[in-house]
Amino acid sequence: GALVYQYPRRTICKSGTSMRMECQAVGFQATSVAWYRQSPQKTFELIALSTVNSAIKYEQNFTQEKFPISHPNLSFSSMTVLNAYLEDRGLYLCGAREGGQDTQYFGPGTRLLVL
């Protein structure tokens, strides 16, 4: 079956520092990877959509300078939160989809706490 793993599951960083999170697709080809953030008491916000061999499209309020994403192959993507501050805390979800398919498969998320 299609599975998505995310690492780490939980991380704590000091305010102003950066942290990198990873997303691994198993059992299918992750042609497109969407990164979402679920802030406390909120629903999921799309940060960016990455498609292999295409430019990464960032949503309003999110930038490459703050959330650089790498999507080097059909099984892996990573995103870094640069200069993390309190408002960046939340659960970061990776949703991966194979080209031509309609379903996104989600990992368990990386929970970011900022001190």
Binding site: V4, Q6, S32, A34, K42, T43, F44, L46, L49, T51, L93, G95, R97, D102, T103, Q104, Y105, F106, G107, P108, G109
Partner: protein, 113 residues
């Protein structure tokens, strides 16, 4: 603009009782609709999806949802809930060919023993 509304932030039902979680959408084109479930400390799992055809779609764990174009709704239902159904349920709308999802705010389901 497209949107998804889940009007109930929390729903409490007794174990064995029937369940309906409400979802309303706003979208001018043909909607692709999804229900996902988020168990405590876990990610999202797909319950079911609708694209076209039979407005009643079956999902995992005996969940089903009914699409209504006239009401712009996609309510989730289950005939008899189990304590393990306690989770947060999200309704989502796909709005483009990249299947970008617009999410509802979620409904927390609490099962009383």
């Amino acid at each position: 603009a497209q949107s998804v509304t889940q009007p109930d932030a929390r729903v409490t039902v007794s174990e064995g009782a029937s369940l309906q979680l409400r979802c309303k959408y706003s979208y001018s084109a043909t909607p692709y609709l999804f229900w996902y479930v988020q168990y405590p400390r876990q990610g999202l799992q797909l319950l079911l999806k609708y694209y076209s055809g039979d407005p009643v779609v079956q999902g995992v764990n005996s969940f089903e949802a009914e699409f209504s174009k006239s009401n712009s709704s996609f309510h989730l239902q289950k005939a008899s809930v189990h304590w393990s159904d306690s989770a947060v349920y999200f309704c989502a709308l796909s709005i483009n060919s990249n299947y970008q999802l617009i999410w509802g705010s979620g409904t927390k389901l609490i099962i009383k023993p």
